[in-house]
Symmetry: C2
Subunit: 201 residues, 2 copies
Amino acid sequence: MPRRVDHEERRRRIAGALWRIASTRGLERASLREVAAEAGISLGQLQHYFAGREEMLRFTLEHFGAVSEQRIQARLAAGYPEPTPRAVLREIAAELLPLSEEQRIGLRVQLGYFVRVLHDEALRPYAREGALALRGVLVDQLRLAAGRGELVAGADPEREAVLLLALTDGLANAVLLDVLDPERAMDLVDAHLGRLFSGAG
Amino acid sequence: MPRRVDHEERRRRIAGALWRIASTRGLERASLREVAAEAGISLGQLQHYFAGREEMLRFTLEHFGAVSEQRIQARLAAGYPEPTPRAVLREIAAELLPLSEEQRIGLRVQLGYFVRVLHDEALRPYAREGALALRGVLVDQLRLAAGRGELVAGADPEREAVLLLALTDGLANAVLLDVLDPERAMDLVDAHLGRLFSGAG
């Protein structure tokens, strides 16, 4: 189905254009018109691929979310013959921190989107769903770890998932504001995981 | 100096108008013109009090920062005859979480500002200074606690200040997104403080 492939490829190119604008000038500047110009196509052409701004924004976030997931999978495949729950959690946290320029850009775009979501009830359910899905992945890994006896006594997987995500989120903001080194943020995540993964098993 | 008082009072009223717009429609919508309309004054009158949008924004954040501090002081005075470092840290964290509608609004405005800061090099130093000042307050309290033998063995005040702020920040975002109850966020902060304040002293 070459036409379908072309369609998706074009949508990804448009998503890339939106991403570049959002990361440099801010998400509010990424109008359909500006994105079309950045992607080197006409507004009419862009509207052939996306009915409106919200649809374009959602596709972009989903696309870069998928790219993020692939990076995690690739790092796990490269670094761990059999990834443990701890390794998976560490790589997810590493992906959520602005350790590289690419991640820093990604987080800036996501924060712009987050602020939009807070003022837009219609977008909220979609963003909630994404946050809860990510939390679910962490809960699964933590349950697996608990089953293997790897967690410290009394650790609750649901609760620890919330804590790890909140900690990573807050550390990411501190790095973005340049009040914390990226390496130090990762050290703090590692120390946190070290305390959590100190079970007798 | 009644004229000076009037001047400050008018600036606070304008700050209130900006706050209302930012919390409902988003910070990007709070132009000088919109704020003047919301405050019930002319654009020319507003410009008598603020030379530009950035100055107005800074004053607003400083004003509501001071209001926040007063709330913390009032809660400490009401709830603790002699506030311990742990009580001070708890009340600061409680102030930073969206536990009330007023705090939820405040955090939304601050997040809008944070995103602006990330795209604006000129604003960055001001925001960094605020974040480092807050961290400094926490470090001082944690050093005091360490001196009193209240902290768990091996706890480093600098590091624990970064962790507590990051955790609170991340939990606040989860509450804003409605994926975490405010009460549960506060429970998690209390549990975190409980583990940290388990020194022999």
